[in-house]
């Protein structure tokens, strides 16, 4: 007994209470200002050695009250907030929101606008997946992939800038049409992009897919089984990587998605490797959809001919009196939306992005609810990270693609 006999050494005899150090349950706080936390996420883990036994996530560090603003701003004024939600694919959010308001008012957009919007939605899907794969690889140390893929994001930015003047935060759609029609060099540039982008995918596949280090770091990590994916209500590439076949573009086709041919990538295990493969395949399929949209893009007006929403051309606003008054009324009073409610969802790059608008008539919404896919994904992250080590949790977080703007709104 005593200090000589090491097997029966009592730590409290040291005069210090060291029993806490021998407690295998250590509480660690990762975030909210942490390099691997994309933005403002906070994960509190209880670890045993280096294995995570329990995790609790805290959000709300980027809550900007967008839903409350939806009740205080008119429908057009709120378009600027939609891009700031999923800022990696802002065009997708704009289009999804304007689609919802148009559904509420029973407006059909023109053919040209419809095909153009589909093309832009697929372009935003490509750039969002580029960010996800590149940052996921960067978190694990594969910097080359980040440099390679970011070049293509800049190419896409140049095209988007020629369309609406801004690279990242676009606000390029309006209720009933788009703010500008595409410039003349947009289609040739898009054709060039579509021809050359698959080479980037081939390069990244060559760097990562057969790479022993990548496979060891991503296979079996952050696994989410099929039943758990359904129980936690996740959507998007993570749901498909877990094996559930649900894609709103194919199952509930909006616009002309039932006329374009594309495949839906389904994974098996729901780990980081599967999510990476699903995203790479989705980028390839998006390229295919864009090619079909380019072929089928018709001529014609980009604005629907509905006097409730049609924003007149500037040349008329400056020269004709009635058009000036019409323009004034649309922007100062807002468009008059009939009372009713609608829930309209698109298959965004991250999952099902839905807008639920309750309108009591008038220019402002009564309730503007955004169903953000990252919210459910982060909830499932708490569950999927149990049993992994801390570096594995970092790579799992990168693959789930949590965008804090969308999570906290």
């Amino acid at each position: 007994m005593g200090k000589d006999d090491i097997n029966q050494w009592d730590p409290s005899l040291d005069g210090k209470n060291l029993t806490d150090f021998y407690n295998p349950n250590v509480l660690i706080n990762i975030g909210p200002a942490h390099p691997a936390m994309h933005g403002t996420l906070r994960v509190m883990c209880r670890i045993n050695g280096e294995t995570i036994e329990d995790a609790a996530c805290e959000i709300g560090y980027l809550h900007r009250a967008m839903e409350k603003l939806g009740e205080n701003k008119t429908y057009h004024q709120w378009i600027v907030y939609t891009d700031r939600m999923n800022y990696c694919s802002a065009l997708n959010n704009n289009i999804a929101y304007c689609m919802t308001v148009e559904n509420l008012m029973s407006i059909s957009v023109t053919e040209r606008c419809m095909w153009l919007r589909m093309m832009l939605m697929e372009l935003s899907r490509i750039i969002d997946h580029i960010i996800c794969v590149a940052i996921n690889a960067l978190d694990m140390g594969a910097m080359t992939v980040f440099w390679l893929m970011y070049h293509w994001r800049e190419e896409a930015y140049t095209m988007i800038e020629s369309l609406c003047g801004m690279r990242l935060i676009t606000t390029a759609t309006r209720v009933g049409g788009m703010v500008h029609d595409i410039p003349d060099d947009f289609i040739p540039r898009m054709k060039k992009f579509v021809k050359e982008f698959p080479s980037c995918l081939r390069e990244v596949h060559g760097l990562l897919t057969g790479n022993r280090i990548w496979i060891d770091r991503t296979k079996g990590v952050g696994k989410l089984s099929k039943e758990d994916a359904l129980k936690y209500s996740i959507t998007g590439p993570c749901l498909r990587a877990s094996g559930i076949d649900l894609d709103l573009r194919r199952d509930r086709p909006y616009y002309a998605y039932n006329e374009v041919k594309f495949d839906v990538a389904i994974g098996t295990y729901g780990d980081v490797f599967d999510r990476y493969l699903v995203r790479m395949e989705e980028m390839k399929q998006s390229v295919r959809i864009i090619e079909q949209c380019i072929e089928r893009l018709p001529g014609g007006p980009i604005w629907v001919d509905d006097p409730r929403v049609r924003i007149p051309d500037k040349i008329d606003v400056y020269t004709k009196m009635e058009v000036l008054i019409h323009h004034f009324k649309i922007f100062m009073e807002g468009i008059d939306v009939p009372p009713g409610e609608v829930y309209s969802a698109v298959e965004g790059p991250n999952g099902e992005l839905g807008f639920y608008i309750v309108s009591r008539g008038g220019p402002k919404a009564w309730r503007m609810r955004v169903k953000a896919p990252s919210f459910m994904l982060f909830q499932s992250f708490e569950h999927s990270v149990v049993g992994d080590k801390i570096p594995d949790a970092i790579s799992a977080l990168g693959s789930v693609n949590i965008i804090a703007g969308e999570l906290d709104r």
Binding site: P32, A33, H34, P35, G39, T40, G60, Y61, L62, H63, R64, A65, K68, L69, N72, T74, V80, Y81, D83, R84, Y87, C88, I131, F146, W147, Y150, H151, R153, E154, Y157, R167, L168, I169, M332, E333, G334, G362, P363, K364, A404, G405
Partner: protein, 216 residues
């Protein structure tokens, strides 16, 4: 060396050398919260290479960095985190407030949860306007910061909030002080209290009111 032992020429050359070294080797700590963070990543990547200007080594630990780039909206829940990160960076340190949200709270986000500008809690050297600023804008800001460092080696911004100022800013609500809108709660220096006078929204004529109630 002069008669009393003080070196006269060398300190000025030394000061110049130190200024040159500091401005060309700023180690940024990116504090990217929202959309500006993506433009910051674009600036750091190969097309708008920031490492041309010396700011290549991005250190995510505040103890190892000397320039804090706050890119994105800072909410009131995040503000103490930012303050504690700022305090951990050792002198000399500089702060770039990137984007409209960090500089002033961004007029579109004037809500109950957004901090109206990080200069309420930390001193800022360069503000970059834009939502988000294009990468050339951020590079312009870093070049401007290099000019600032060139002029004075000691940073003396006009208004340097002390710790007390920062704590007061974080507990004091400007909107409640302006008393534009009366609501069920009032926020004072001591905290949040129930307003027994009840809710009495004032009619404001900023167009498009619903049911005559205040829209803000």
């Amino acid at each position: 060396m002069s008669k009393d032992g003080s070196a006269m020429i060398y300190p000025s050359l030394l000061a110049e050398a130190v200024k040159w070294a500091r401005k060309n080797s700023l180690w940024p700590m990116p504090y990217g919260t929202s959309c500006c963070g993506i433009e910051l990543m674009s600036t750091l990547s190969s097309t708008y290479d920031l490492s041309r200007f010396g700011a290549e080594v991005v250190r995510f630990s505040p103890r190892q960095a000397d320039m804090l780039i706050v890119a994105g909206t800072i909410t009131t829940k995040m503000a103490p985190v930012l303050r504690s990160i700022y305090e951990q960076i050792l002198e000399p340190k500089w702060v770039i407030s990137m984007g409209a949200c960090a500089s002033s709270g961004n007029g579109i986000f004037d809500t109950y949860s957004v901090l109206p500008g990080i200069d309420e809690i930390i001193p800022v050297d360069v503000y970059v306007p834009g939502c988000p600023p294009i990468p050339e804008g951020l590079i312009h800001a870093i070049l401007h910061l290099q000019k600032v460092i060139e002029k004075n080696i000691e940073r003396t911004p006009a208004v340097k909030p002390t710790y007390e100022d920062a704590m007061n800013a974080m507990t004091y609500s400007k909107c409640a002080q302006a008393a534009v809108v009366k609501s069920a709660y009032i926020v004072t220096k001591d905290g949040v209290a129930q307003n027994p006078a009840g809710q009495n929204p004032i009619d404001c004529n900023l167009g498009g009111n619903q049911n005559g109630k205040c829209c803000c």
